[in-house]
């Protein structure tokens, strides 16, 4: 059974492009160009995966997630953007997206990412891995739970390899782990990113660039 996907992006051309690229592999069941259109559509269609633009005219991608998540907890979100601003990307992830890829991603990689997100895994592009490493960089944890405030050395290693362009299979081979274990590490990083209180993200976003 193919994955049911809703596209949310305010650029019609881009939606048409993605639809024609993915049409044979996944089932594109709906399209929306704004938060106001997307929320009722996703609630009605209950798709497996929503491909979500980070920037929408009437609010960010996180507004769509916020409007849908409570009623449709099974819907997975994959953020898709041309934006390089780390704070935008991180805030969509924190709102609940299971991954982030750039719009320049190749067709096979995008299909792969959709399938992975549909199965509940996390999808980190190299760029997102770089942002996340940045967000968890050394610094004293201030939150109550150090478990979610810091990355383990293994998680850090996995993220570094993702940033360096390694795929999960290559990472597994290099670290002598199973692919499942690598996926578990990435999911754990995603969970920490969403739960952690330590990152005052706006401040981080300003200070992030230079050390």
């Amino acid at each position: 059974m193919s994955v049911r996907v809703v596209l949310v992006d305010d650029h019609e051309l881009f939606r048409a492009g993605v639809r024609s690229e993915l049409g044979e592999i996944v089932d594109v069941v709906g399209e929306a160009g704004s938060v106001a259109e997307a929320v009722p559509l996703v609630l009605r269609l209950d798709p497996d995966v929503v491909l979500l633009d980070v920037h929408l005219p009437d609010g960010g991608g996180e507004a769509v997630i916020a409007g849908v998540a409570a009623e449709r907890p099974g819907v997975k979100f994959l953020a898709l953007s041309v934006s390089d601003a780390a704070e935008d990307v991180i805030s969509v992830i924190r709102a609940g997206a299971r991954g982030y890829v750039t719009k320049t991603i190749s067709r096979t990689e995008l299909t792969d990412a959709i399938a992975r997100v549909a199965e509940g895994d996390a999808v980190f592009s190299p760029r997102l891995a770089g942002f996340v490493l940045d967000a968890f960089r050394a610094g004293e944890p201030v939150g109550a739970d150090p478990e979610i405030e810091q990355l383990t050395p293994r998680e850090r290693e996995v993220l570094q390899l993702i940033a360096r362009g390694y795929r999960y299979k290559e990472i597994a081979a290099r670290l002598h782990l199973s692919v499942k274990t690598v996926e578990a590490h990435v999911s754990s990083v995603l969970r920490k990113l969403q739960l952690s209180s330590r990152h005052e993200l706006t401040r981080w976003a300003h200070e992030r660039r230079l050390i």
Binding site: D84, T104, P126, G130, R137, R164, G165, R208, R209, L210
Partner: protein
């Protein structure tokens, strides 16, 4: 400036004794002309005020210079007041005040910035106030400087306000010009090139990616605080050029950044050489570059999934790898490690310890 509609007054052509002023005025006011003439005659007895007033209306009626008429009328009023026994000083002051008000009423003018400032009127009003107050004996040493200061505020204030408004407008214009220049230099040029190379998808893709990188850096980059650029900016530039030259796709990720310094530039040059090698020899269509900067060191990884090679089999005189990468990193105080095997792709790892700053 607001154009004021002149009251409907014209000298009478039919009912005239001297110039038709009294007749015209009577027509306008709807009273008997004789009554008007009587008032003017009485006023003329008061030091000639009536004559002056007549002159003022005549000037006004000629549609020539309403403000001249106003001045004459003010003088007429002054003469009348003197004739009624007011002291010359206070009359002079009052006259100046009335003349100032008349100028504003007749000529218009506004205190708002951008409007025309009725400078002569303001000057007259202030002078009138000073003269009037000083002849009334209630003068304190503060009156004259106060009036002067008031005049300065009235005259200079709007002007300064105007300047500030101009400055904001100018900054906005400059910003707009910058955006226009950027769009023209990069986006429009790229679009023109894309049209010319429409038949060559690899080139079009490279152009589009380079443009994307350029715009993204402009929008989100650290350019302003670091005019010389940063490591990540420089890697992005290098990646863009190599994509354009060799048609490979380069995916750049980063964690942290540093401003460019001498040895950092050497690192960029070494990374550039590694990217070029990957683009030229690996046959991979995508190259991943990751820059990781922490407190102790800078690391840049250049990785491809291409054909790979046997690092030990590279002859020592192969300039690119030996000199441009290993040599350069050594000279900069860093290190280069090349990991490759035939069929397994290549990764170049460049590291540079950070100098304590």
């Amino acid at each position: 400036m607001t154009a004021r509609r002149a009251p409907a007054f014209a000298r009478s052509e039919s009912d005239r004794v001297v110039a038709g002023v009294c007749g015209g005025l009577a027509e306008t006011l709807g009273v008997d002309a004789t009554l008007v003439r009587l008032v003017f005659a009485l006023l003329a007895l008061a030091g000639g005020a009536g004559v002056l007033l007549y002159l003022a209306f005549w000037t006004y009626g000629n549609r020539g210079r309403p403000w001249v008429a106003g001045m004459i009328a003010a003088v007429a009023a002054g003469v009348l007041l003197v004739a009624l026994g007011l002291s010359t000083g206070s009359v002079f002051g009052l006259t100046l005040l009335v003349a100032g008000i008349l100028i504003i009423v007749v000529r218009g003018g506004t205190m708002r910035p951008g409007g025309s400032l009725p400078v002569p009127a303001v000057a007259l009003l202030l002078a009138g106030a000073v003269v009037f107050l000083s002849t009334h004996g209630r003068v304190t040493p503060l009156v004259a400087p106060g009036a002067l200061a008031g005049a300065l505020v009235l005259i200079v204030g709007p002007w300064i306000w105007q300047l500030a408004a101009d400055r904001t407008a100018r900054i906005r214009l400059e910003e707009r010009a910058n955006v226009a220049a950027r769009v023209h230099d990069s986006v429009l040029q790229t679009l023109a090139l894309v049209q010319r190379h429409a038949a060559d998808p690899a080139r079009v893709t490279a152009l589009a990616r380079r443009q994307e990188r350029d715009l993204r850096r402009w929008l989100y980059g650290g350019g302003l605080e670091h005019p010389d650029g940063t490591l990540v900016d420089a890697l992005g530039d290098a990646a863009g050029e190599i994509e354009e030259l060799h048609g490979a796709r380069i995916e750049l990720a980063a964690s942290g950044d540093v401003p460019l310094a001498d040895e950092v530039e050497q690192l960029v040059l070494a990374a550039r050489e590694a990217m070029t090698n990957a683009a030229k020899f690996s046959h991979a269509d995508e190259i991943a570059v990751f820059a990781e900067i922490d407190a102790e060191r800078i690391a840049v990884y250049i990785r491809d999934r291409g054909v790979g090679f046997e690092p030990d089999a590279v002859p020592a005189d192969r300039h690119g790898l030996t000199d441009s990468i290993h040599g350069r990193m050594r000279r900069a105080g860093g290190n280069a490690v090349v990991t490759s095997a035939p069929g397994a792709g290549t990764e170049v790892e460049l590291t540079l310890p950070r100098r304590p700053s």
